[in-house]
């Protein structure tokens, strides 16, 4: 199986995946009907995107790969060049008693892994704006960077589906209920070579630069989000 790094992905490639509602209401905290949100949010979005383009703030990179894997009970074992890693996942105690491992075959399956980032400049430019008293710009730039990191992850998930020729499945980011153990991040980052796109994991298992997203990509048609 292979891991690849792709750098310098054009903003226009993933901008269409931007979840505007999540940005305007969720991150920026604006309130109102969808029309009101758009009326307030869209001009600000356009203004910030112009600055992002002129200053080259968006520097999108992806480290990803497809890996042989199989499931054993509540665990998924992933093969890589150096050996294998084993990740265990919690199982729901009621409802359908789902566990992530249920969406991986007991043998001969393939999963995707990715780490994506929109780069370190968002924090640097934001800090400069804050120092200069541009508080609203600073705050909204931060939200935009986070939202674009998610958009990039969505875009790349789609790319990975196309590459595999399978238009099904779900992507999961560590830390969310179905896969709460953040310590698995270190393994994931290592397997895809995230350091080669400038992304590192801190002792606290956080991604640096901040506007980065990791994901485990499963192709099982029944795979969906759930909470144990």
């Amino acid at each position: 199986m292979m891991a690849r790094r792709v750098r310098g992905i054009p903003l226009d490639d993933y901008l269409s995946h931007l979840d505007r509602r999540a940005l305007f209401a969720g991150r920026w905290g604006l309130r109102g009907s969808p029309e009101e949100l758009a009326e307030q949010g869209e001009p600000r979005l356009r203004e910030l995107l112009a600055e992002v383009r002129m200053q080259g703030i968006a520097q999108a990179g992806v480290a990803y790969g497809f890996f042989a894997a199989h499931a054993e009970g509540d665990s998924v074992i992933v093969q890589h060049e150096g050996g294998e890693v084993r990740w265990s996942f919690p199982r729901q105690l009621r409802d359908e008693r789902l566990c992530l491992a249920d969406f991986v075959r007991a043998e001969g399956d393939v999963i995707g892994l990715m780490v994506v980032s929109v780069g370190p400049a968002w924090g640097e430019v934001g800090a400069a704006w804050r120092e200069a008293g541009r508080f609203r710009d600073f705050f909204e730039l931060h939200g935009l960077g986070a939202a674009l990191a998610e958009a990039l992850a969505d875009h790349w998930h789609e790319r990975m589906r196309k590459e595999r020729g399978i238009d099904a499945g779900q992507s999961y980011s560590f830390g969310f209920p179905a896969c709460p153990d953040l310590s698995a991040r270190g393994d994931l980052a290592r397997l895809v070579g995230a350091d080669r796109i400038g992304v590192e994991i801190t002792d606290g298992h956080m991604l640096v630069p901040e506007h980065s997203v990791d994901a485990l990509v499963l192709f099982h048609p029944a795979a969906r989000l759930f909470s144990p």
Binding site: V6, G29, P43, R44, E47, A50, G204
Partner: protein
Amino acid sequence: MSSGLREVLGREVIIADGAMGTQIQAARLRPEDFAPTEGCPEILNVTKPQVIEEIHAEYLAAGVDAVTTNTFGANLTALADHKIADRLHELAFAGARLARHSADQAGPGHWVFGSMGPGTKLPSLGTVPFSAIRDAYQTQATAMLDGGADLLLIETCQDLLQAKAAAIGAQRAVTATGVAAPVIVQVTVEPTGTLLLGTETRAAVTALAALGIDGMGLNCATGPDAMGEHLRQVAAALPLVSVMPNAGLPDMTDDGAIYRLAAEELAQALAQFVEEVGVAIVGGCCGTTPEHLAAVVRRLAHRPLPARSPADSTAGCVSSLYHAVSLRQDATILSIGERTNAQGSKAFREAIAADDLDTCVAMAREQARNGAHVIDLSVDAVGRDGPADMARIAARFNTEQTLPVMVDSTDPATVEAALECLGGRAIVNSVNLEDGGVGLRALAPVIREHGAAVVALTIDEEGQARTAAQKVRVADRLIETLVELGFDERDIIIDPLTFPIATGAEETRRDGAETLRALQAIHAAHPAVGLMLGVSNVSFGLAPPVRVVLNSVFLFEAMACGLSAAIIHPGRITPLDRLDPALRDAARALVWEQGPSDALAVLLGAGGASVAASAQSTLPVAERLRRRIIEGNKAGLADDLEEALRTLTAAVIVDDLLLPAMAEVGEQFGAGQTQLPFVLQSAEAMKAAVTHLEPHLAAAGSADRRGQPGVVLATVRGDVHDIGKDLVDIVLSNNGFTVHNLGIKQPLTSMLAAAQEHDALAIGMSGLLVKSVEVMRENLAEMNARGLRIPVILGGAALTRRHVEESLAPLYAGEVRYAKDAFEGLTILRELSSAPGNAAHDGGP
């Protein structure tokens, strides 16, 4: 000589050579060899030709098909730096002759690529004029074609405007010499994914493909691994693709840059580009050697290429220096901002007259903000030097805003002045047939040479076409003429003219309907051609609020008839369902010249009272300042503060006017009446006000701002999140507290040290992670063990009020409080600062 290249180009892979610079260094030349310059590589073409020939021979011996001339710096700016710009022709010619001689020695089927580098000054940065480098490029290209070059390779381009100058210069040389050499342009994409000046690949492809070059590619900056995505974008639009990567990203050592990519790896990567992307010309840039190219030759020599026809032409696309925009927008029209027009906008006209280019740029950015896709730029005004004005403003619009520009002028000198300042792909508005086509044929070559799209107005020898039949006839003629002159239909936009229909004049009543019918007919006959209107004209003469109604209705009716673009005020179009139904219906009736005949009267009668002039300036200054803070409005703040200072001290202004206003903002936020972005805007106004007052506060020596109560803020050890903490910093700082923001991953010791040093009122600990709650627990236990009593405020997504109050507070003898947001933190701090025992803090705000 040269003619054989076109027969193999695109049919089999052509392998070019590698780096010249490192090979020159390896030749261990002495400074004298470069006389009279200090290290100009091109001088060697005449002082040490045998060295250059040997380098060519080495690459040819490795098996390459083409050698690149030692003329990368044989251009205006690079030679001017060496003070030998007058030797440009001589050095370019000599370089080509050397390469020609070497190639001929290697036998038939060996080619000479004439290298044209970017020079040392970029026209987009205003440091060298376009026409100067263009003409020098023509000289260089002519010299190299005379010297035997088979192909002109414009390489390492970082600025689209420079690339355009080189491409035009090269093409002029091809035409003048009659040597049909292909012209290839290679751009340099930085590891960040754009060109140095921020150009996205698709914008580069859009702008360069329109220049009629033969092919495009990438070279330099990175190794092959970073190039794949960009090459795909090039291959989608250009028939010939080239790539010449560096041997990886260099390690910067004491011995200089060391490139680590091995020969086999380069060969493998280039083979993949050929197979997967259809690249037709490969080579190497910095760090590549004859060994590298030998490996490439082993893999790819004479590899046949399948025929390619790019699927994703850039016809119908325009661009700024930054990004590309399609002239056909899905589900909506292309919105062309009308305000930066000296005839249509008094504000713009006055800004130009006052040489206030910052305002001109601000007006462009404002339109982008309001949703314009393209900016219309018109500077034609009586009594001024149009081309000079246009050049100054277009140069600023090139880099300081991100929308493609529609150059609005019919004067060739003005149009050319603009196009020589715009690196992206522009639109020229406009041409017509009023003089039978003389003017059109005078302007068309300039538009074609710069690769711009074109707007054509339905005006012929009989004047402005008024009926649908006339408009269609003139449109047909315009399209035929333009296509004959080489324009692609998708790059042609017809404007069938908009006349005011609400002036009451009888003869204008039908103009709306005639225009709409013309749109339908032209769209049916020429579906690939764009259709545009200057919408605002339709409502000339009506009161402003009614103009919005008529403009909006007319626009939407026109869209239904096939309109694809419109020059509008982007903020002033209203969706139909939000218009007053009576006015909307009257407008529609007027536009289609159907329905009640009193439609015009309805519109003329509406218009209402003009918006009552804001009584802003008649409010007392105290109230004005309060509103500025609450509304976050900085414009004119300084004037209001100066007025207030006439009767109040700076300290009173801050304490009695500004801080209470900020407190009001906080209350509004707490009550859900305002949101964080607006709170921050208020904080900006507050900070701007306090900054303006600083000199007065210091001078008066009163209420030493440094005596404001201080608070220490930090994100705990192991946690990198700080947006929440920084928001708290902003809110507290602008509500009368001095914040010592230590940053992220802070151990307890640094928080305690800072608290002691600044005699802080409290320590605020922030953290996002679940783990950080544990760290806070440990911190509190430690502080307790040390017998400390300074209040601690805890915040962050992983905390709950209950957890803080029930599980964490009991660990510490001092106060422990939970703040769910910055304002709760502010409330807590105010309580703490006015508590007894804090008398030293001046009562606090």
